[in-house]
Symmetry: C2
């Protein structure tokens, strides 16, 4: 966790009028890890969301806590272990909140995340992207250092490569076989003879099966969600049983996505559940019913930088690099464009407007019907743009500016982006 | 420029067979700035594109040089100053190539870019996103440090804020008025009385006008491009003349986009031209005719990680975080999906396939017609994915792995991402 921002040089609870912005000296600033370098003492560090440079990613801790508790309760009720997917937050500070400082296993999407979380004390890690052979040396490095890192795969070729590498290097590499439970992305079908072939090719490294029903994002009714959750569970358990029937071990049976866990009624035969985006929520999740609009814990703070009165446009400095290009709500009942434009303090959406288009550092706010009210968006005022897809938007930023339900920035948390 | 990668621990010119990947020791790695920390001497640093961890952003220097020369020649022919937009590359090393190590002014899209390039010796900088008042203290800081930094704006409110701030702080801040030459984004129309009002509100800070015809991306024929280039020129020059007729100074007349500069036949009345993406090119630019497919200088190196034979999918570890969500060719004559799948050495596209969908760390390659040939994409083999939009894809990475027409990685160049 990086240093707490304690000084308050802010301008108070309202948007500062033009021309009253306090000047900064030439010293100070943030270091590359997001730690305020305030030792020179003369530069006013941002203390509230109203004097923070924009665009900036805000994270509201009470909402994060609420989302974390809801999923912990749900998974406890289902009687399995929660293995949150840290690809959404990529932050040990967020993980401390979602795990309530307990020892909790995690799922990662990059080797960089595995290295970072292991360095911060997390030891039980599933790397849940099909293994590329070029990554095996780094996997072995982490395992030798004491990390209980497991990988996944879905081909005989990869299984043979993992076994060959493990034997040559004298390291025990455990892998789960990815099961295709929804026809959506990767994995082998539970009734495909390949499943047993892969299990045999893995040999002593076989540790179980896993599946992710990404097709749950196409469900629209409670019945569809519940059926998809049951399908993910049933097909993954079926795969485990087929392996066992062939005399192969299958101790781990891992399933999950935020929608399927939210709607699952039972997880019989499953040992652990994975989900990521629930920690922040987003506009897609709100439309899927897994959270409310008010649960969304992150947003991009942006400044109004222009008015194009001829074309009815308010311009903000949150463009596609800050908001992401994700148009996840484009095909959903409510199309939020590139994000919902909200009051930065209350998170209440401004009615009848969206970020309807973006360029690299420009967001264009337009009215959905009738003329736009420019007086609601004075030059220099601030809006909070809630994301379509929290994972994509958060990945555009290297740190979170943490709030506690109000305007004060109470902390700055770093993220582990990238791959190398 | 970060350290040159000199050691060669590579596997040679071919894709390494499964199970033959050399192990790495636990030491070494890359530092947060991308500088290889090879001093322990025991970890094999990637020396070729075949032992680099994936996904990774490759930059081919000969193609970059070729693109740079072409634009320098074109702008010299047009008789104006070239002020390249560094938002595409965000790298002083790339700028050294595109400027041929000469003193060349630049355009930036963030204050972070301005700080970085000024720290690396570039002194004439235009920050070409409408100014947010909260950024004025940092603008003043750079100007006081000796940077010839100018800003842009398109409202009386912003002009008054800039003038008020400059007078209160005793610093001379020069601004260009943004002109709307295409109805595409921001700016004031040249015949709008607001133009003169903004000029008067700026007072001594008025330094000129600028425009960017983003609508050029909607052109499809040479006639349309040439007409758009002429419209951008003519309306921006008209704005300058109206300011002068009102007794206001307008020394700088700045226009540009990669398509309008590529197709412009004259720039009479203009003083400088801006363009960014030409340095790398991309699939959108190739379809607009400003470069060839073979000119595209960057691509995302990815590994094949899975085969879903039931659904005819090859999975790679380049997902939307590595490729970006940009679907810029979606409405163009050839829709490349999330990118063109190429041989990593020759850059020749594999025929009949695209990255048709992406998740965070998964890219899905499918056939455009007929069954996919899995034998062309063995597990662990490598592809290079050329980007729809180079600016968006490059921004997903913190460094470039530089090649010189072959497999060897000859350098690693850092980027200045983010805002704080």
């Amino acid at each position: 966790m990086v240093e707490h921002v304690t000084e308050n040089h802010g301008v108070g609870g309202s948007i500062p009028p033009l021309g009253t912005i306090p000047a900064r000296s030439q010293s100070g600033g943030l270091t590359s890890t997001g730690i305020p370098s305030g030792s020179e003492g003369s530069r006013a560090e941002p203390a509230t969301i109203f004097d923070l440079q924009t665009p900036a990613l805000l994270l509201d801790r009470p909402r994060l806590r609420r989302n974390a508790v809801r999923m912990r309760d749900k998974v406890r009720m289902l009687g399995v272990i929660l293995r949150p997917h840290v690809k959404t937050a990529k932050s040990i500070d967020v993980h401390r909140v979602i795990s309530a400082d307990a020892d909790m296993p995690i799922t990662v999407s990059t080797i960089a995340e595995a290295r970072y979380f292991f360095a911060h004390g997390v030891t039980d890690i599933l790397y849940a992207v099909g293994i590329a052979p070029v990554k095996l040396p780094e996997v072995a490095e982490l395992i030798r250092a004491g990390c209980k890192l497991r990988i996944i795969l879905d081909t005989v070729e990869a299984a043979a490569a993992v076994r060959g590498f493990a034997e040559a290097e004298g390291v025990n590499i455990e892998a789960l076989i990815e099961i295709d439970s929804d026809g959506h992305r990767a994995g082998v079908a539970p009734d495909d003879p390949l499943l047993i072939e892969i299990g045999r090719a893995l040999g002593p490294g076989l540790a179980g099966v896993m599946s992710h029903a990404g097709a749950s994002y196409d469900c629209r009714t409670r019945d569809e969600f519940e059926a998809m959750a049951e399908q993910e569970r049933a097909l993954t358990v079926e795969a485990a049983e087929r392996l066992r029937a062939a005399g192969l071990p299958c101790p781990i049976v891992s399933v999950g996505s935020t929608p399927t866990l939210h709607y699952a009624r039972k997880l019989d035969g499953v040992t652990e559940a994975r989900a990521g985006v629930y920690v922040f929520g987003d506009l897609v999740q709100a439309e899927l019913g897994t959270c409310s609009m008010d649960d969304i814990a992150i947003g991009v703070l942006s400044s109004v930088i222009g008015h194009n009165r001829h074309h009815g446009r308010v311009l903000i400095d949150g463009g596609f690099l800050a908001l992401s290009r994700d148009r996840g709500t484009g095909e959903m009942p409510v199309d939020w464009g590139y994000g919902a434009v909200c009051d930065p303090l209350s998170h209440a959406p401004f009615e009848n407007v969206t970020v309807s288009s973006t360029n690299q550092e420009h967001g264009i706010i337009t009215s959905q019907s009738g003329p736009i009210d420019f007086d609601r968006f004075p030059i220099g005022s601030r809006v909070l743009v809630l994301p379509n897809h929290a994972c994509a938007t958060a990945a555009a930023h290297d740190r979170y500016f943490v709030t506690e339900g109000g305007e004060e920035i109470v902390d700055v948390w770093e993220r582990v982006n990238g791959w190398q």
